[in-house]
């Protein structure tokens, strides 16, 4: 395998993992905080 293939594969896997984790955590936080706020306003 060419060295650049290995480098590109490493960057793709690492960035996809990091970006996916960040996005998932952000969406989960937004959803949970919005739900808590809506419920707080209803009470």
């Amino acid at each position: 395998m060419s060295p650049w293939t290995l480098v590109i594969a490493s960057y793709a896997i690492a960035l996809a993992g990091t970006l996916g984790l960040t996005l998932w955590s952000w969406l989960a936080m937004r959803r949970a905080e919005a739900q808590a706020e809506t419920l707080g306003r209803r009470q």
């Binding site: 990091t18 955590s25 707080g40 009470q43």
Partner: protein, 240 residues
């Protein structure tokens, strides 16, 4: 530290801190990886594959730091009963596991060229794989305990005991004959065997990933606190 154990006080700081850590981390990562990919020179023996270290080393550091954070939070939970400690430990587990997996995968890709093999049961690699299994066990145990309404004491004990693996990972290259290279940067003595043209993007990348890791942990903590709030309110509404 005790002051910030109060969820309301913690949220007052975490809300503005999350985007600051996240965006500054992302900017540092982008800059460091650009330099690592297009500006830094190839290494004499490793050639272009050396560019993998700008991801591999920060991922390894965060895999270990993540468990360090779990162990510290577990200690605080068991000794001082900090209400936020269990939340912090649970929030650090998945990011730690992801970065450990990234470390193993990128290391394996790098090794296929440098060592001629994707995997070797070498001290450093095996102890990192054990760390990944520990993360999986911790996530399952902490999740099951929380679902049953427990305080998370079992998970905290597991978090503390699992920290035994951290010095094993660190010293594995000294204790055993390994394929993995030895320590290149000595922070205690302030010395490095890496040329400055490669060292700087590596350090900036590690700092950037650390800041982003902090933002991810804060986001996960905020999410869990909000979910707890919803759960408590729903219980109150049901009993009223």
């Amino acid at each position: 530290m005790h002051v910030y154990a109060n969820p309301a006080r913690f949220l007052k700081i975490a809300r503005p801190l999350t985007p600051v850590l996240g965006w500054s981390g992302a900017a540092l990562i982008a800059g460091a990886l650009y330099v690592g990919l297009f500006v830094a020179p190839p290494e004499r023996f490793q050639g272009e594959t050396v560019r993998i270290i700008y991801l591999h080393v920060p991922a390894a550091w965060l895999g270990m730091a993540g468990w360090g954070a779990i162990a510290l939070a577990s200690l605080m939970q068991l000794v001082w009963r900090h209400p936020l400690a269990a939340v912090a430990a649970r929030s650090a587990a998945l990011p730690g596991a992801v970065f450990t997996a990234i470390c193993l995968i990128t290391g394996s890709l790098w090794g296929s060229r440098a060592w001629g093999t994707f995997w070797e049961w070498d001290g450093r690699m095996t102890s990192m794989l054990v760390l990944l299994f520990l993360y999986c066990g911790y996530i399952a145990l902490a999740g099951a305990e929380k679902e049953k309404g427990g305080e998370g004491r079992l998970a905290a004990i597991f978090g503390l005991v699992g920290a035994v693996n951290l010095p094993i990972i660190h010293y594995s290259v000294l204790w055993w004959n390994t394929l993995h290279q030895g320590q290149s940067i000595d922070f205690l003595r302030g010395t490095s065997r890496i040329d400055a043209s490669m060292l700087w993007p590596l350090l900036v990348s590690a700092l950037g990933f650390s800041l982003l890791f902090g933002a991810i942990v804060l986001m996960r903590m905020r999410a869990e606190l909000a979910r707890n709030k919803v759960e408590a309110r729903l219980k109150r509404m049901a009993s009223a």
